[in-house]
Every structure is written in structure tokens, then in C-alpha cells.
Symmetry: C2
């Protein structure tokens, strides 16, 4: 399951997301020494390098020279912070429509894929309760703009949008997981695979008989030796998978 955002009081969170000026009356008491922005930036920096698992209120506070509890004057809770982080990074995405829908959608997908590699944690935020911030909405709007020239009907568009999103997110998550596992365990994809496959042959000597197609598929791989095993796999799958999906869209275009 994805990590959840969009859980708290919608009024508060929405005002922060859309930067609605909430001109509070001047009050007694000490001035604030932080800003929501600084907190969001710090949290993003931590999540980018340490992953979602490394993102804790304590860590964010420490990076800013404060305690975890100090953050709660700026942000309702961790999930609201995540909302803000999520929408903020989506501001990086800018790819827009092309005359040819296929070029536009390809650019959209590739940009999003690279984005998820830069911000692995963003690929883990659930889409079931979208954040509804300006930048997240922009991402969808731009995909719709790219698809526009294809002239698909509403239900098909929805299927294509979610299909593409799942695909890009899944492919990026695969790659991120592979990298994370390699880093975390200190075991490269190759080392891991070597140890496991050796064990496989002793534990299932009839492997080639039980899984003939898997065996064959595994044997005719072409490797780019300069990349880790799984990166290679993920990149190639992304490219050919995306091409196949776009062929499917093209078929729907002709059908319309």
C-alpha cells in the first residue's frame, strides 16, 4: 500500500498547498524562526537521500537545528508535511504537449520516470487520495494535453492515463528498489543473483523442466555490461513496455 497523504484537515492543507495568504493578526509571543518552506526543503533533502524510511520528524528537526516537536507549529502532522513535499517536487515537471501525441506522451513518461528516480519516495505516495495540489494536478493536465491530438473518448482516456501512470511508477519503483537493496545490503544485483541462482539449482534440480519458458527467456538476454543487472533490465523493460502501450493507444485512435 502506498504511504498516505491527504489525511488531515483539508482546509489547512489546501491553504498551504495553494499558498493562500492567511494574514493572521499580529500576536504576542516569540517570532517564528523557521518557515514551512524551509521544513519542506529539509524533508525533501532527507527523503531523497535516505528514502521514505529515513524520513522522520526527528531527522527533519535535527537538520534544522530543532527538535521534532518544533515542527508541529508549522505543520499539522507528518502526512501534511508529505503532502507539501509531494506537491513541491512535482513543480520540477514541465514536459508539455507536442503536435504528435506520441512524442508528447513519450516525453511525459520519460520525464516522469527520471523524476521518480530522483525522488524515489514520491513513487510511494498513494494515488487513492490525491494531494490535489497545483503541481500534481498540472502533471495530469499535461498528460491530457499531450493525449488531446489523439482524440480519444473519456473512458478510454481515463484507462490510458492510469495505465501509463501505473506503468511509469512501477518501472521506476522497480529500479529504485533494486538500487536501494544493493546499497542497503552491500550486495550488488549480480552477487545477489549469483547466490540465489546457485541455491535454486541445488534446491530445484528440475528447474528447466518445470519452468521451460522462464529458462529460455533468461538465457537470451543481451547485457549492457556497464550497468547493474537490474538497471539494465528495468531500462529495457521501460522502453519496450512504453512502446507497446503507445501502440495500444494508437490502435484505439484508429478505432475511434
Amino acid at each position: 500500500m502506498g504511504v498516505f497523504a491527504a489525511q488531515g484537515d483539508p482546509r489547512r492543507t489546501m491553504a498551504l498547498l495553494w499558498r493562500v495568504p492567511t494574514d493572521e493578526p499580529v500576536r504576542p509571543g516569540p517570532r517564528q524562526s523557521l518557515t514551512v518552506n524551509a521544513i519542506v526543503d529539509a524533508a525533501i533533502a532527507i527523503a531523497d537521500t535516505a528514502g521514505m524510511a529515513g524520513l522522520s520528524m526527528r531527522a527533519v528537526g535535527e537538520r534544522l537545528g530543532r527538535t521534532a516537536m518544533a515542527l508541529y507549529t508549522y505543520v499539522a502532522d507528518k502526512s501534511e508535511l508529505l503532502d507539501l513535499m509531494y506537491d513541491h517536487v512535482h513543480g520540477e515537471l514541465v514536459a508539455d504537449a507536442q503536435p504528435n501525441w506520441r512524442d508528447g506522451v513519450t516525453a511525459w513518461a520519460e520525464e516522469l520516470f527520471e523524476f521518480y528516480l530522483r525522488h524515489p519516495w514520491a513513487a510511494q505516495v498513494s494515488m487513492a487520495r490525491p494531494v490535489l495540489g497545483p503541481h500534481e494536478l498540472n502533471l495530469v493536465e499535461r498528460l491530457l494535453r499531450a493525449l488531446e491530438p489523439a482524440g480519444l473518448r473519456g473512458p478510454v482516456v481515463r484507462g490510458v492515463v492510469s495505465g501509463l501512470t501505473y506503468f511509469v511508477q512501477g518501472a521506476a519503483a522497480f529500479m529504485n528498489d533494486a538500487r536501494h537493496a544493493a546499497r542497503e545490503t552491500g550486495q550488488s544485483d549480480e552477487d545477489w543473483w549469483y547466490a540465489r541462482s546457485a541455491e535454486l539449482t541445488t534446491v530445484a534440480p528440475d528447474f528447466a523442466d518445470r519452468y521451460p519458458l522462464l529458462t529460455r527467456l533468461e538465457s537470451d538476454k543481451e547485457f549492457d555490461e556497464s550497468l547493474p543487472y537490474m538497471e539494465n533490465e528495468a531500462r529495457q523493460s521501460f522502453t519496450t513496455g512504453l512502446r507497446t502501450m503507445l501502440d495500444g493507444v494508437a490502435a484505439q485512435v484508429k478505432a475511434a
Copy 2:
């Protein structure tokens, strides 16, 4: 990022996964009062109802009338337990090839989708370090068997396999997240959406101008009133998304 399995000592885990009899010599000390199977079953029951977040060693132990630490004589750690759970539930999957590749692949995808709805936690296990148990491998082998009549080349097959997997997993995860959020917060999709969209219009009064395509797409939905909002969305997206992907595969078939 996915939750990781396949992290520990491959020899131990593989032996358990493939049920290799490890006839240990008779030893002194008290007899074991549990079995690995009982632990795996208990853990699956917990994860099915309480989700990955509710799956804790304490909870599994408690369900069996033991402490958390008692489990460690049967299982190396939580990730090994997850390996065993993951492969065990995959034994439920049986759909196999059809004369027509399209029927076979459709059946495969639909069965897997329903499977992930039964076992939401299974959709969160990372594929970057596959468990390599017999049932998980069977799942892939059966998809390859279903695709066989299409006669695609290796690299294309790999793209299609991962594309389909990401798609099914993403669609199911979306649905699971929506259900989980509704249950967890006590707020139905409709309530949630109502509160958020009301806030959206006050915070972004120019919404329809900034996001014209999104606005239009949202307005021409057809609802099945008997289903929750997101379920409806997810089911429809799954159906039309799958059709589009298969059209893409069909295009590759013709190209070959």
C-alpha cells in the same frame, strides 16, 4: 518503495520455500510446539485483514498464543517470514494458457487483480529482489505460456511481462489504498472528495481555466452508483487500460 523480502541467508530461506526435507538428527531439548506452516498461516491471516502495517511479530505470536520472540526459532526474521507468506499465497493462482493468447493473458491479469484484492499486502512486496519460490515463478511461467501463441521476441516479451505486472499491481494497489483509506479514516470516497473539492473551488477559483482538460474529463463520468467512487474508477480503468495494453501487444504481433 516496496517492502523487501529475499534479504536473508538464501540457503535457509530457499530450503523452506522449496520444502527441502532437512532431516535434522534427533536433538535433546523440548519438542517444538509450533510449525513454520502455522506461523505462515497466522501471519497471512493477519496481513489479509490488518494490512502490511498491522503485520508485526508480536501480532503473529499473540495469535498463536506465544510471544514475538518465540517465532525466531522457526523463522530467521520478519523478511524471511514475508518470503514464505508471499510464495504461499501465490499458490492460489492457477489460470493457464488458452488457444487464443489474448484470452489467456486477460484471464491471467484478471485473476492476479482479484488476488491482490484478497491479499493487499502481496502487492507491496518489491519485485526487485524476487523471492524465487515455486509459486511466484509459476505465476510468471504461466504468463509466458499464455503469451507463447503470440510469438513475440524475447525483449518484447520482457517489456510486456513487466508492463502487465506493473499495470495489474498498480491498479490493484489503487483500489486497495482507496478501501484502506475509507476504512481507516471512516470517510467514504464521496465524503473525502466532497470536502476536498469544496475546498479546491474556494482556494483555486480559476480551477476550470487552469485545468480545462481535467475539468472536462471529470464532468463526463458515468457512475455505477452501487459502488464507491474510487472502486468504480479503478474497475473501469483496469478494464479499459488492460484492453489498450493488449491492443499494443496485438500490434507487436502483427509487426513480427
